[in-house]
């Protein structure tokens, strides 16, 4: 009895399913590559599949963390991919105009410019959503469509390549034997978690997502919270844009961050944050982003033809969403629960309480 209740409490935990999927995906690799979990040291850098999953997944984690807060307020931000492209384009074009591309001051200024552009995009989104009261999905569609045009305008339709050592660090460099981007991601995640879970900010974000009008009447400045959240999301996308362009040392207005908004939303959903808003889990999002990156890596390592990558992704999305749908669980697992229910009548009074929570 105690083991079943403990098991039940575990499966009810909001991180259970995402982590289970992640572990299952990681374990799938073992029969194909026995040394999948091995991490070895070469030239003072750590190498291994796990390290590369985190390294290549870091822009996605960043974007998804920003997206989590936006979704928690009941919104959505489709423009992150375009923001990634704009930031990368602006930064790289500024650096490429410099005489000395290795000058630290110039690189920092370029990064500042790129992030400033990202913040402006976020302010615009926030203004449209909070001030004008436009549906988030449409408000952010504007920058999603126009932003890529702007990015191509900045790069003149070319792919700008740069050769700057300091800039290379943020996306492809190493620090303390680990990829530098891991530290950036860890810092952003730590700051976000601290701000949302150690201060009242997280509660405010959730209450705005639960009911914007009610929270305004309670005295929460929901408009300000919403604008802040969109700016934060754009800033995260901007940092991701710096990482992506620095990793390849090039800015591609057309393809940088293509579909990253969809992957990010997917990561948030896999992490257990409801698209309806009002509740969020940063930890779940990070796990969700890692699930997506692991899936991609797994497809490469187990030798599935790469062209079926997207079909696999679709299958995972469908399975994860179905598992999270209360109605689907009731239909499939409910039948079995019903047959066992008469045997344990003691469990019956406990049933209504969690149901209330679900609805």
């Amino acid at each position: 009895m105690t083991t079943t209740t403990r098991w039940r409490a575990l499966t009810r935990h909001n991180l259970f399913w995402p982590v289970a999927v992640l572990v299952a995906l990681l374990l799938v690799n073992i029969p194909f590559t026995p040394d999948f979990f091995a991490i070895h040291m070469t030239d003072g850098h750590l190498y291994g599949s796990l390290v590369s999953i985190v390294l290549f997944g870091s822009p996605l984690i960043l974007v998804a963390v920003g997206m989590t807060l936006v979704i928690a307020t009941g919104g959505i931000d489709l423009s992150v991919g375009a923001v990634v492209a704009i930031t990368g384009a602006l930064t790289c074009s500024y650096i490429s105009d410099q005489k000395d591309q290795d000058a630290l001051a110039g690189v920092l200024l370029a990064m500042g410019l790129g992030l400033l552009a990202a913040v402006v995009c976020g302010l615009w989104n926030g203004f449209l959503v909070a001030r004008m009261g436009i549906q988030p999905i449409i408000a952010t569609l504007i920058i999603m469509v126009a932003g890529r045009g702007v990015a191509q305008l900045i790069t003149d339709g070319q792919i700008i390549t740069i050769n700057s050592e300091p800039y290379k660090l943020i996306g492809g460099g190493y620090w303390l034997t680990l990829p530098f981007s891991i530290f950036v991601v860890a810092a952003v995640v730590a700051v976000t978690v601290a701000l949302t879970r150690r201060t009242a900010l997280g509660l405010l974000v959730e209450s705005v997502g639960g009911n914007a009008e009610a929270s305004r009447l309670v005295g929460i400045r929901s408009m300000r919270i919403k604008i802040m959240v969109y700016v934060f999301c754009a800033l995260c996308a901007g940092i991701a844009g710096l990482m992506i362009s620095s990793n390849t040392s090039a800015a591609d207005g057309n393809n940088a961050g293509l579909w990253i908004e969809l992957d990010a939303i997917l990561a948030v959903v896999i992490g257990g944050t409801s698209l309806l808003g009002g509740r969020f889990s940063i930890g779940g999002t990070v796990v969700g982003a890692l699930v997506i990156q692991t899936l991609t890596t797994t497809i490469y390592t187990i030798g599935v033809p790469t062209q079926t990558n997207l079909v696999f992704k679709a299958a995972v999305v469908i399975v994860v969403c179905l598992l999270q749908s209360p109605k689907f669980r009731a239909k499939v697992f409910g039948a079995r629960a019903k047959t066992t229910a008469p045997a344990t009548p003691a469990a019956a009074p406990a049933e209504p309480a969690p149901k209330m929570e679900v609805s």
């Binding site: 959505i76 549906q135 126009a146 191509q152 997917l266 990558n309 999305v317």
Partner: protein, 343 residues
């Protein structure tokens, strides 16, 4: 039609005298469509005065708008249905790409005649839409996520068929693609004609059938529609099936237009379709809008493209920027309208 536009204004008259003409115009549901039509006319006249010497006034230039954007029109009509019902379909572009790939593969590599291939492609598209609608309704997952999975699935299936593009040199396809129907002023292609037929059918379905009224009712307020006893599930699933069918048909037209299948055809086309629907004045919250508006939305997007072609010095990315600016303008117009209605 007149009853729906009249009814909101009648209580106004009873309570606070006759509303001013401007207020009545602003609360008219047809305003966005009229604005889009006016914008189209203004852009056309501007183009006419600027590129008069380059043959912009030629009636064939106008008809080419239909020839070059027929597939987009069909896809946008499908998107109009979904958006009117309060949902969204992100899989449009992928289904189009998949259809071009499937038809090209069946015609070219398997060697089936085109007459067999067309029903198969349409069936596959409609079945994909049906599946998405079924999952959306029965498992209560957001349309956004389900159709996102559809986007990945169909784009992935493209790549499963072949990683490289397949050129079609079937005689039936090329003869069909080159057929032109003379209208006196100029020619229309088969694709453009099919698009116009689809538009007419959609207009009839939305405004003169029970199914059409149900779509508006569900988009307006799903809960009340359910309480009224409307078949929610059936209608929703039918809407997504229709969108899948329209996307597949758009894919066939695109295949005729471009005469090849490519796994990267029509990437991001769903954005163009949604943009055309919004510019055409349909509210993205559902329940309000006209399929004729979508026609003007598509024409405006097409006109932007041809003006940029005529200008010659502007690069292609200006299309995206112009589309974004237009989207923004129309969203703000919609916003002003809906706040007026509440007040």
């Amino acid at each position: 039609m007149s009853t729906t536009t009249q009814s909101p204004t009648t209580p106004d008259k009873v309570e606070g005298g006759t509303p001013s003409k401007a207020a009545r115009l602003l609360s008219d549901r047809r305003l966005p469509v009229l604005v889009t039509a006016a914008l189209f006319l203004a852009m056309y006249i501007a183009g006419l005065s600027r590129y008069q010497n380059y043959g912009f006034g030629d009636s064939q230039v106008f008809l080419n708008l239909f020839i070059d954007n027929g597939y987009l029109l069909v896809a946008a009509v499908g998107a109009t249905f979904v958006i009117l019902s309060g949902g969204i379909d992100l899989s449009v572009g992928s289904v189009i790409g998949f259809t071009t790939m499937l038809t090209a593969w069946l015609v070219q590599d398997v060697g089936l005649p085109l007459l067999v291939v067309i029903p198969i492609s349409l069936g596959v598209g409609a079945f994909g839409g049906f599946l998405m609608g079924y999952v959306i309704h029965n498992f209560e997952i957001q349309p956004f996520i389900v159709t996102l999975a559809g986007l990945f699935l169909f784009r992935g299936l493209c790549l499963v068929i072949s990683k490289e593009s397949i050129a079609i040199n079937d005689s039936a396809v090329s003869s069909l693609a080159e057929t032109r129907v003379s209208l006196g002023l100029g020619d229309l292609s088969i694709g453009a004609l099919v698009a116009l037929v689809v538009l007419a059918a959609a207009f009839y379905i939305l405004h003169y059938t029970r199914f059409g009224r149900r779509i508006y009712a569900i988009g307006g307020n799903e809960q009340s529609a359910l309480l009224m006893g409307l078949p929610l599930g059936g209608t929703k699933i039918a809407v997504y099936t229709m969108s899948g069918f329209c996307s597949a048909l758009a894919g066939l037209l695109f295949m005729l237009y471009i005469q090849s299948g490519d796994p990267l055809h029509a990437v991001g086309m769903e954005l163009d379709a949604i943009a055309a629907v919004v510019i055409g004045g349909t509210l993205l919250t559902g329940g309000s809008g006209y399929v004729l508006g979508t026609l003007f939305g598509v024409l405006v997007l097409g006109l932007i493209k041809s003006i940029i072609q005529f200008e010659g010095t502007l690069s292609s990315w200006w299309t995206k920027i112009a589309t974004g600016v237009l989207l923004c303008a129309f969203i703000l117009i919609q916003r002003v309208m809906t706040t007026r209605k509440k007040a």
